[in-house]
């Protein structure tokens, strides 16, 4: 079975668990996705499955050519995922939310909401300056950014104000709470990076799933 899909973030809400606790969830519309290419170790050097998602009218000739004759429609987003068994997938196959099941742990990747140009306090959680004791204009300043004559410059990578957000963000080991195969929707616990309608990659997390399961609450 394929290990991941391309999805669209629908939004957040909550559900109640059997204990009556409120669990925050994010709904992800997982498809329908289509297998657009199967890559094998013999031919491409590695095993992978290319998956496409979201119908569009605006494709360029190269994209159209890639999808031509595959009976998958005009797909806007193409991404590769690993697969447990290469023989279980074929080009043109339709994939949906039933790739995942409740109780699985998944990693999700999205593009976080853009925050624009932000100061150090918001961007890196700097403390800012003191409000009192004679300070007048240092409330949200970054403080010192370097040393003195030696080294005589500001070190590279020093955290300062700048553009925040709108970058690729991964969130690991989110629990799948519920799957609705009819509507192609997967509900994962907690928050997922990005705005509603954003494109999300959702992939089964291999590493931690077992360990977390044994200590899982509720």
């Amino acid at each position: 079975m394929i290990r991941g899909l391309i999805a669209k973030k629908i939004g957040m809400s909550h559900i109640f668990n059997s204990e009556g606790q409120i669990i925050a969830i994010t709904a992800l519309e997982c498809g329908p996705c289509f297998v657009t290419q199967v890559k094998s170790a013999d031919k491409d050097g590695y095993d992978a499955v290319q998956v496409g998602f979201s119908e569009t009218k605006r494709l360029n000739a190269a994209q159209k050519g890639h999808l031509a004759g595959k009976e998958v429609g005009s797909l806007k987003y193409l991404r590769e995922f690993t697969v447990d068994d290469l023989s279980s997938v074929k080009v043109g196959q339709k994939l949906g939310a039933d790739v995942f099941q409740a109780g699985d742990f998944v990693n999700v990747v999205g593009t976080s909401k853009g925050k624009g140009f932000q100061g150090g306090v918001k961007r890196y959680h700097f403390k800012g300056g003191p409000k009192t004791h004679g300070q007048s204009d240092r409330n949200r300043g970054p403080g010192a950014v370097g040393a003195t004559t030696d080294p005589g410059r500001v070190l590279k990578g020093t955290r300062m104000a700048g553009h925040m957000g709108h970058r690729r963000v991964s969130e690991r080991n989110l629990r799948v709470m519920r799957v609705d195969p009819a509507k192609n929707v997967v509900f994962v616990e907690g928050a997922v990076p990005g705005a509603r309608g954003g494109i999300i990659l959702i992939e089964k997390s291999a590493k931690i799933a077992k360990a977390v399961k044994s200590t899982a609450k509720g």
Partner: protein
């Protein structure tokens, strides 16, 4: 796709329509280790928020001179039942003004149901259980 239409709800048939100003008795399950018991919280509804699984209402009561407000989610599996002890007549959706008041000032006028008083014949039958609920509250 709208998120809240995706979460299917089991309809709660035992929850009456709750509006601000009502005095309600809320039976809520409390879990203490393995034991489960039901606690009744009685007070005035100070606000109702509707929205599928988000639907909730806030109940205020004053115990031992301390004001306590609790929010109950209508779809919570822990919410056993809600009884309306008294229908209150208020002109606001959120009764935050009660927080600044105490004693007699917090009284709320009982709602006079106009529909009922005009059709006396049917109202007489329906009024009976309401009267019982009132007397319970006064004791």
């Amino acid at each position: 796709m709208e998120i809240e239409s995706l979460i299917d709800l089991e309809p709660k048939t035992n929850i009456p329509e709750i509006s601000p100003g009502d005095t309600v008795k809320v039976s809520f399950k409390i879990k203490e280790r393995d034991r489960e018991r039901i606690q009744v919280f009685q007070g005035v509804v100070t606000g109702v928020s509707n929205g599928k699984i988000r639907s909730n209402f806030t109940v205020r009561r004053v115990t031992y001179g301390i004001g306590v407000e609790r929010t109950f989610f209508i779809n919570s599996p822990l919410l056993e039942k809600v009884e309306i002890a008294r229908r209150g007549s208020v002109r606001r959706a959120r009764l935050y003004y009660l927080r600044g008041l105490s004693g007699k000032a917090t009284r709320i006028k009982e709602k006079r149901d106009l529909a009922k008083s005009t059709t006396e014949t049917t109202a007489a039958v329906e009024d009976a259980p309401v009267a019982v609920a009132e007397s319970e509250q006064e004791t």
